[in-house]
Amino acid sequence: MSILVDGGTRLIVQGITGREGTFHTEQMLTYGTRVVAGVTPGKGGMSVHGVPVYDTVREAAEATGANASVVFVPARFTAAGAYEAMEAGIPLIMTIAEHVPVHDMMGVYHTARRLGATVIGPNSFGVISPGRAKAGFMAHAIFSPGPVGILSRSATNCYETVYAMTRSGIGQSTCVGVGGDMIPGSTFVDLLPLLESDPETSAVVLIGEIGGGEEELAARYIVGMTKKVVALIAGKNAPTGRSMGHAGAIVSADGTGSAARKEELLRDAGALIAQSTEDIPGLLRGLGI
């Protein structure tokens, strides 16, 4: 099964004629993803690596029956791209760019809920179900199919974890780049239920960070999960009150959002706490994975 993307995914690439869009379209096609259409305003009628390009997402969707889109456009146009996909009825939208204004994402977040769309990211590598399909820019060579679902606010920490897991022979069902921004389109609690009910996922790795309250909310959900969770919280020693690049990673003065608090709540909820990405394969082995 896996979640979000798989062999049934019919993907649109928004911004397909851009440098990143073109490169990663080829990468996604190579990986076996069914990229059915691209969108670039004014470039309708072209084709990129054999993928037909349309002027609008609506036309692309009407022509191809696409059911997902990955938005490879610069940060300042990312919200507009997400709105276009949502209004065209695309149910799953991956947003990639770093540095999307948080007010833009506030609008996207509430619109997605209103229109029933799932938005992943921004500041995300996308989503990959190893061996099946990927929608995003992740370096797919390190991923391997298997029983562990991963949700990560950090791309690099996810790569480290996946790399360590794959070397240890532990594969992944689906890895989702939740993104590290203050307001992601989907949060841990939005995605954990999908992994919980995915028959091919046996355990979950949750890679969080300081700042915000998403790990705290995740802890509440984890209490009722049947699947075991291994969690890592990055940023324990980050300077307080300073941006760590992910706008989200700001430790508030009073300790909410702190690594200690997040770890405590996750531990109390039954999750195993990793101190570094290198610990994760061992902890998963301990769970019988």
């Binding site: 540095h99 370096a139 700042g211 909310l217 990055a234 020693n237 989200g248």
Partner: protein, 381 residues
């Protein structure tokens, strides 16, 4: 970024909030030209992007011109919580019947703005929330509905405040305008003075603007560029790197390609007692040229005693990293400070081969091996 009081008040004023009149000076010499415009008794306030100015002696009153000059001389140049005061705001003193608190901030968990109000302003709002919670109201603002008249009514009546709902509504609407128009994550007025006549005046203000929105906030960007900032931060910004000053007494510099990885590096180093001076985030897909710039930038800081480079090469290629390191060090013959490099991913083998040719560079497999290598050199750090 956090705006100083005077800049916050400028944005308040632009959106129609009465924030009083004031002048900003950077040197007492500027007083002569402005003295005619200054009402006495006057207040002189150090402009720093942190709280606690009052306790630190950064706020003073002046009854006349001589006192004013003295206050300016003593406050300008002061250091408050690490910030050198390079400008002061001079305003007239406002008599008020009451001091309220009003703010709008982004509630990350609810993903919407929230407004906080208290008739007990002028003090730390967190303290009021502890000692008199019934005097603090908190109300979510639906971003699709904005500020409505019943919000102002609720803030007043639910906290037992006495005041005109229409006046509070007007300030709340305008503060929300500030919040939206300037891409804020926080807009705070504390105190919001209530005059004997019932008017509301913002006596102090704090604004935090989303760094990611500066491209569409030219006024805030211009303000940022007027600030005396860490030269390394400025240099990094000019190359579009993110530079994060960490522990001023630290000696290890970290370079990586992603904030999550940077946090993990800092965590691993800190766990072993190593102190990180600064971290530099290359972002994705850096070329050899950019890598070299980043290395040079970190080594330009003489208090950096060692450099740790940790790259997970997805888009970034390992051979590019190695070439960048080689290029930077070629320009610094005999530098001698250790450079520990760990990378993983595309073209790793080629990268390792290149690194092998560079004196003073050590390649390690994995983050923890890198930390070990630095620990071995602990005495020199």
């Amino acid at each position: 970024m956090d705006l100083m009081e005077y800049k916050a008040k400028e944005l308040f004023t632009a959106c129609g909030i009465d924030a009083g009149q004031g002048v900003v000076i950077r040197s007492p010499a500027e007083l002569d030209a402005l003295i005619a415009d200054i009402p006495f008794p006057a207040v002189v306030k150090a402009q720093v992007p942190v709280g606690g100015r009052g306790k630190a002696g950064g706020i003073a009153f002046a009854a006349n011109t001589e006192e004013l000059r003295e206050r300016c001389v003593s406050i300008l140049g002061m250091t408050i919580r690490g910030h050198v005061v390079d400008r002061v705001l001079i305003t007239g003193r406002v008599e008020c019947a009451a001091e309220w608190y009003l703010s709008i901030l982004l509630d990350r968990t609810a993903k919407r703005p929230v407004t906080i109000f208290s008739p007990e302003g002028g003090v730390d709002i967190e303290q009021t929330a502890r000692t008199a919670p019934e005097r603090v109201a908190r109300l979510a603002i639906d971003p699709l509905l904005g500020v409505r008249d019943y919000h102002a009514r609720y803030l007043l009546t639910s906290t037992g405040a006495h005041g005109d709902p229409a006046a509070l509504l007007s300030v709340l609407r305008r503060l929300y305008d500030v919040f939206i128009r300037y891409d804020c994550t926080l807009c705070e007025i504390n105190p919001l003075a209530v005059t004997a006549g019932g008017s509301l005046i913002a006596l102090d203000g704090k604004i935090t603007v989303d760094d990611n929105a500066l491209f569409r906030q030219p006024e805030v960007t211009a303000y940022r560029d007027s600030l005396a900032e860490d030269p390394f931060v400025l240099a990094a910004r000019s190359f579009n790197f993110l530079y994060i000053p960490c522990d001023a007494a630290g000696s290890v510099a970290v370079m990586s390609n992603g904030s999550g990885m940077i946090m993990s590096c800092i965590d691993s180093l800190s766990d072993r007692g190593l102190r990180v001076r600064a971290a530099l985030d290359l972002g994705g897909g850096a070329t050899a040229d950019r890598i070299a710039r980043g290395v040079s930038l970190l080594l330009d800081d003489e208090r950096t005693r060692a450099l740790f480079i940790n790259i997970f090469g997805g888009i970034t290629r390992c051979d590019e990293v190695a070439r960048g390191v080689a290029g930077a060090l070629a320009k610094r013959p005999g530098d001698g400070r250790p450079v520990i490099v760990r990378f993983e991913g595309t073209n790793k083998r080629e990268g390792v081969a290149i690194l092998g040719e560079i004196p003073g560079v050590r390649y390690v497999e994995g983050l923890s091996q890198g930390v070990d290598a630095l620990c071995e050199r602990r005495s020199a750090l």
